[in-house]
């Protein structure tokens, strides 16, 4: 046997459950999962890796769309898997599609922001797609498969 320098793969999954805290905050009062939400943004907006928190600036508006978006269904806990002695992946995918029902969104949008409404609306991730408009219809955003290579959120070591 030999020792191999690596970040523990389990750590990657545990980052997603706030098991480790290298800083002074936040103090977590509950052991249950936080509530995450998904908000849609106009194609003209600027939402990217520098986005730190949910904002109404650039968010879509329209009939039956509530500012802040929809609550994400989160029935599957994060998972971590070793891909080799030195590499691993922690990953998570919402367990249901994001559905915006009977909305009219007349201005083109191409982006969804996933954010943590329990933790002061802090941003989690930004996902883009082809520009859309919706007229008295339903917009459905179906998640990728929850695997090491396709999950919506993946933290990987190399």
């Amino acid at each position: 046997m030999a020792n191999t320098q690596s970040m523990a793969t389990s750590f990657l999954g545990e980052l997603m459950t706030a098991t480790h805290n290298f800083g002074a905050s936040p103090i977590r009062a509950a052991s249950t999962a936080d509530t995450f939400k998904a908000a849609l943004y106009l194609a003209s907006a600027t939402v990217n890796a520098a986005t730190t928190v949910y904002s109404t600036t650039g968010e879509v508006t329209g009939t039956n769309y509530t500012a802040g978006g929809v609550t994400i269904t989160n029935a599957t806990a994060p998972t971590s898997t070793n891909s080799s002695a030195t590499a691993g992946v922690g990953y998570w995918t919402p367990s249901a599609s994001f559905v915006y029902t009977t909305v009219t969104l007349s201005t083109a949008f191409d982006c969804v922001l996933v954010y943590n409404s329990t933790q002061s609306n802090k941003a989690v991730s930004v996902h883009t797609f082809g520009s859309q408009t919706i007229t008295a219809g339903t917009f459905t955003l179906t998640m990728p498969s929850n695997t090491t290579t396709t999950a919506l959120l993946r933290l990987a070591t190399t």
């Binding site: 990657l12 797609f129 919706i134």
Partner: protein, 54 residues
Amino acid sequence: MDDSLLEKREGTVDNENELTTWVEYWLGEELVHRSAHVTLKKMPNFAGGDTASF
């Protein structure tokens, strides 16, 4: 509304990032319904972490 007056239009976009299908119903020159279904296929890694060497 007489549904027979509606014209249905459909489309698909399929690339490495998404599979999108959409359907529209037109009443003459007026778009009266448009729905879209986007399936995200694959997201990029959000980090490439490693440990320090000594």
